[in-house]
């Protein structure tokens, strides 16, 4: 089974040189830590920067330089700042090659719910709806089940949707799954996790191929 860093490590393997990548808050943010040294990838933060770098050294924080999680960050050489309309032009116009975000629920048709729980305080969708409606390549990073042990991989979402039919791949603590033709397709098992465990944790329709390799995480 993977921890959060493990999920991020596995997703980092999906990233290709030359890509522009938008990482959501939480586990997705950790992906940046596992991009191979020297691989040319630029991170977009939708509040208005391409070429986001790591957190600043203590004492070098700049209130004018934050990411979409409102955290102080740094800018890499070749970074560029822009306004929010231009930022979402990049996103809506499909100029960003990969979007990684978290979810509360994912359905077997690719629907995603990650912004609102009825009866609880609603904080808002931020940029998530623009991201999922536009990106060609969306990977969801999340735990396979919620704290109550219930599956987050469902026949259909029960929570209010963020986007419809948009998720292509999910990486969880248990597995890598692709979504196509109305089903979750098991691609890889997490180290030490059996197909049976994954099947038990997946409420939606799960297609299990003859061979399900274990992830290679170093």
């Amino acid at each position: 089974m993977l921890d959060k860093n493990g999920i991020a490590k596995r997703i980092a393997q999906e990233v290709r040189a030359g890509w522009y990548v938008n990482l959501g808050i939480g586990i997705p943010t950790l992906v940046a830590n596992f991009i191979p040294e020297g691989m040319e990838v630029e991170f977009q933060s939708e509040n208005g920067i391409l070429g986001m770098g790591p957190f600043p050294w203590e004492g070098e924080e700049d209130a004018d330089l934050i990411n979409a999680g409102k955290q102080t960050i740094t800018a890499m050489p070749g970074a560029v700042y822009f306004d929010s309309a231009t930022s979402f032009a990049m996103i809506r116009g499909q100029h960003v090659q990969l979007t990684v975000l978290g979810a509360m629920e994912v359905a077997q048709n690719g629907d995603i719910a990650n912004w609102k729980i009825p009866g609880k305080m609603v904080k808002g969708m931020g940029g998530a709806m623009d991201l999922v409606a536009s990106a060609e390549n969306i990977i969801v990073a999340m735990m396979h089940t919620n704290r109550a042990g219930e599956s987050k991989m469902l026949p259909s979402c029960s929570l209010p949707l963020t986007g419809v039919g948009c998720v292509r791949r999910v990486v969880t603590n248990l597995a890598v799954l692709d979504i196509r033709e109305g089903a979750f397709h098991l691609v890889e098992r997490a180290p030490g996790v059996s197909v049976e465990e994954i099947a038990a944790a997946t409420a939606g329709k799960l297609v299990i191929p003859d061979a399900v390799p274990e992830m290679r995480i170093n």
Partner: protein, 239 residues
């Protein structure tokens, strides 16, 4: 030569801002918010405001200060976390909240300033954001119709500005400020440094002065940081 847009501080800048108006306020989180203008809006004590702002500040800074005085009747935002007073007023029904996808909010402000009354976007299709909105397919993909936003007054914060109202923002403090500057019937810019007309490089200006009606140099910027995240030199294993 442009006419001088300079006014003498936030009190003069906010002349004419009244209860019941719709205001836009630039900034993302606490980054790039018009601190001095917000201070004056609190002092004015005007009520029943509709505030269009991506976020709602925190309890004791930014728009949170207006919320504490119950000056805001309605918020139009994309994300309103990190604010207990906001939550209390929203759950009690005192505060009306219209949540909009962040990209749609930015584009709707730009549209308002650019004379584009409405446009289609894929964002929000199939969600509750699309409720009551026209849906149309383009190249087989469904989109929803979103309308322009404008405001009686727009408040923006820039790094440098000149007397003609030309503005330059710094880093990610740009965010919503340029579009809101376009969309205000009267746009008030506060800047950290006010310079004479002709000082800024005309290639480097982000907001042309035509969008700005009043400008002043703000004072005592706190520029509070919402999430201070740092690397520690001592404990850093790799740098």
């Amino acid at each position: 030569m442009a006419i001088s847009k300079v006014v003498n501080g936030s009190i003069a800048a906010c002349d004419g801002v009244k209860s019941g108006m719709t205001l836009m306020l630039g900034g993302f989180g606490l980054c790039g918010i018009p601190e001095c203008s917000i201070g004056e809006l609190v002092r004015l004590g005007i009520k029943d405001l509709t505030c269009i702002s991506n976020n709602a500040g925190v309890d004791d800074f930014g728009l949170g200060l207006l919320l504490q005085q119950r000056q805001i009747r309605k918020m139009i935002s994309s994300y309103v976390g990190e604010n207990d007073e906001f939550e209390r007023q929203m759950l009690s029904g005192e505060l009306e909240v219209d949540l909009i996808p962040q990209g749609s909010l930015a584009e709707r402000c730009r549209a308002g300033g650019a004379g584009i009354p409405a446009f289609y976007t894929p964002a929000g299709f199939g969600t509750e954001v699309a409720a009551g909105k026209e849906v149309r397919e383009f190249e087989g993909k469904p989109h929803i119709l979103e309308s322009a936003l404008t405001a009686d007054f727009a408040f923006v914060k820039a790094w440098k500005g000149d007397t003609a109202g030309n503005l330059i923002y710094k880093a990610t403090a740009r965010n919503f400020n340029p579009m809101m500057a376009m969309a205000g019937r009267i746009t008030i810019a506060e800047v950290e440094e006010l310079v004479p007309e002709g000082t800024l490089n005309p290639n480097e200006i982000h907001t042309p002065g035509i969008f700005v009606q009043r400008i002043f140099q703000g004072e005592r910027y706190e520029k509070r940081i919402e999430q201070r995240t740092v690397r520690n030199r001592e404990t850093a294993s790799n740098a």
